[in-house]
Amino acid sequence: MIPIDADHIGRVYRVGDHVDTDAILPGRYLALRDPEELGRHCFEALDPQFCTRVKAGDILVAGRNFGCGSSREHAPIALLAAGIRAVIAASAARIFYRNAINLGLPVLISPNASAQMKAGEPATIRLGAGLIRQGDASWRADPLDGEVAAILAAGGLVERTRRRLANHDTRGTAHG
């Protein structure tokens, strides 16, 4: 996962509005679970060269409603396996957003950054501050919900839940 209080630098790869999770990872691969295998099929119809073009650490910049459609966690798994380490979008579908955060793939919401960031050039993200920079331009992303920040700080939902369970901090077990 990218650091929270230090800069992460990655090259920008751009996609458009309403990119659905079928486009990120087609349904016929949903029986697969191996991240590497899923990563190879990431965006394969949109850009067959995607997984060779993307380098570990790259930043995906998307338009509106990124990750709409299916709830498949395979989508952020595939993005991570392909090398994407952060997503910046004008807006994101709720389920995709949660899935990405849960896996430690931060999604920053900033319509201005989404509109103005340039493809192929490096950008810097300071996650904790919500700061995005590219060249001389900078943007501030929407602040993260407390729970989202806590999940990212733990490195993902698995680790956060593991710690809660270990500490018997499961106030959700009222029915259990």
């Binding site: 016929r28 459609g69 966690e73 807006s91 729970e147």
Partner: protein, 425 residues
């Protein structure tokens, strides 16, 4: 403070006192739903969380539907993972082909979702439960793993968009057309951060199957969930499936809505969504003549008995056009059996339809009816994204079972009304 249906339902399930839109709350749902695609990943995560037990196994429903019967070795082992998880953690509600069906249709049929219930499902179309005056919300596998382990999940209380239905639908206008009129109005993301609340006098003209079809596509407008007002229709549906039924939840006068929309059912004509977006909706007439290779009547939204009856009413005494494949998938085993008893399957098969098992199948491009490059389908499903049913260069139009069946007969898109006029002439 006056509350919407969603705020009321969430308040009943929240650990926090204040449940109004924008607040972060912790919700303990009544039902957790997982399938053979989302389940295995959730089970991996559940293990990695070092969870030792499922908080409430009696609330968990596991359904093998996406690749079931299994299409290959990978999906066979995914189906086995569901089976093993069910037996390890004492989950009685585990359904495989022959006893189950497509999860959202099956869940309703099981009677596990009462008025005012909350369903968390590792599938985006969990919103279908909204037709039952309940809240169904979709999540990914990690969230459901956490919910299995702890019995709850955090969420940001959504806003509500009120949709008032008025009038009664004209001939060949059904729930699917109402669903498509909603995506036409809200577009792909107009519902982001909101629950779609349906009510109004028009509701009385929509049966449960039609309401499920409408609720199912709430997520296609980006909505968090959907909540229909409860009424005699939903109460009667529940009465045949549950021992006792909670009172319908209605919004308070003066509840706050982000926006309001009014849909006059009597003004709707049969609609169709053009590829590649469920929100690219036009009247069927305006794409009439478009040639089709395959017609697919099935899926969690529109593989209902109502859909099969509509399809049969068109196909009775007719034949599927040469060169067209008609695939019919009753959404559940129960629907399949009722359709058999009513003679619907005989009518459809006689017309040249292949009747498939109750599986997600080709709806998500899995198996049982994948499209080749350049092919065009009319489907009663809910998504027509690029490559959704197969090759990235195939095309899917979304429409009602009436419109789909008419396309199967004509070999091209036609208004179902035109087709029946031709027959009468």
């Amino acid at each position: 403070m006056a509350k919407t249906i969603a705020e009321k339902i969430l308040a009943r399930h929240a650990f926090e006192g204040d449940v109004s839109s924008g607040r972060i709350v912790t919700i303990a749902p009544d039902v957790l739903l997982l399938n053979d695609v989302s389940g295995p990943i959730a089970f991996d995560r559940f293990k990695a969380m070092e969870a030792r037990r499922v908080a409430s196994p009696e609330r968990v429903v596991l359904v093998a539907d996406h690749f079931a019967p299994a299409s290959d070795i990978a999906s066979a082992s995914a189906n086995r993972m569901l089976r093993e998880f069910a037996s390890t953690y004492g989950i009685a509600h585990h359904y495989e082909p022959g006893r189950g069906g497509i999860e959202h249709a099956l869940l309703a049929e099981l009677g596990m979702v009462d008025h005012g219930a909350v369903v968390f499902g590792a599938d985006s179309h969990t919103c279908t439960a909204g037709a039952l005056n309940a809240l169904g919300m979709g999540f990914g596998s990690a969230d459901l793993a956490a919910a299995l382990a702890t019995g709850s999940l955090w969420l940001r209380t959504p806003e509500t968009i009120r949709i008032d239905l008025t009038g009664s639908p004209a001939g060949f206008v059904t729930g699917k057309d109402v669903a498509l009129s909603v995506t036409r109005e809200l577009k792909e993301d107009g519902g982001l951060g909101a629950v779609l609340e349906f009510g109004g006098p028009g509701l009385a003209h929509l049966g449960m199957d039609e309401r499920f079809a409408i609720a199912n596509m709430a997520v296609e407008a980006g909505a968090d969930a959907c909540a229909f007002e409860g009424d005699e229709v939903s109460a009667a549906y529940l009465a045949t499936r549950r021992r006792d039924t909670g009172p319908p939840m209605l919004p308070d006068d003066g509840a706050h809505y982000r926006s309001r929309l009014s849909i006059d059912l009597s003004a709707l004509s049969p609609l169709i969504a053009r590829p590649p977006s469920p929100a690219s909706v036009v009247p069927v007439e305006s794409v009439a003549g478009e040639r089709v290779d395959q017609v697919y009547i099935g899926n969690c939204a529109n593989g209902s008995l109502t859909d099969l009856r509509q399809a049969a009413s068109i196909l009775k005494g007719r034949r599927v056009a040469p060169g067209v494949r008609l695939i019919v998938v009753p959404a559940t085993q129960q629907i399949m059996r009722t359709a058999m008893a009513e003679g619907l399957l005989e009518i459809l098969a006689a017309a040249g339809a292949v009747i498939g098992p109750s599986t997600c199948g080709a709806c998500f491009g899995g198996h049982f009816g994948i499209l080749a490059a350049g092919e065009t389908a009319v489907a009663t499903t809910n998504r027509n994204f690029r490559g959704r049913m197969g090759h990235p260069d195939s095309h899917v139009f979304l429409a009602s079972a009436w419109t789909a069946a008419a396309a199967a007969v004509a070999g091209k898109i036609v208004s179902p009304a035109t087709l029946s006029r031709d027959a009468d002439a």
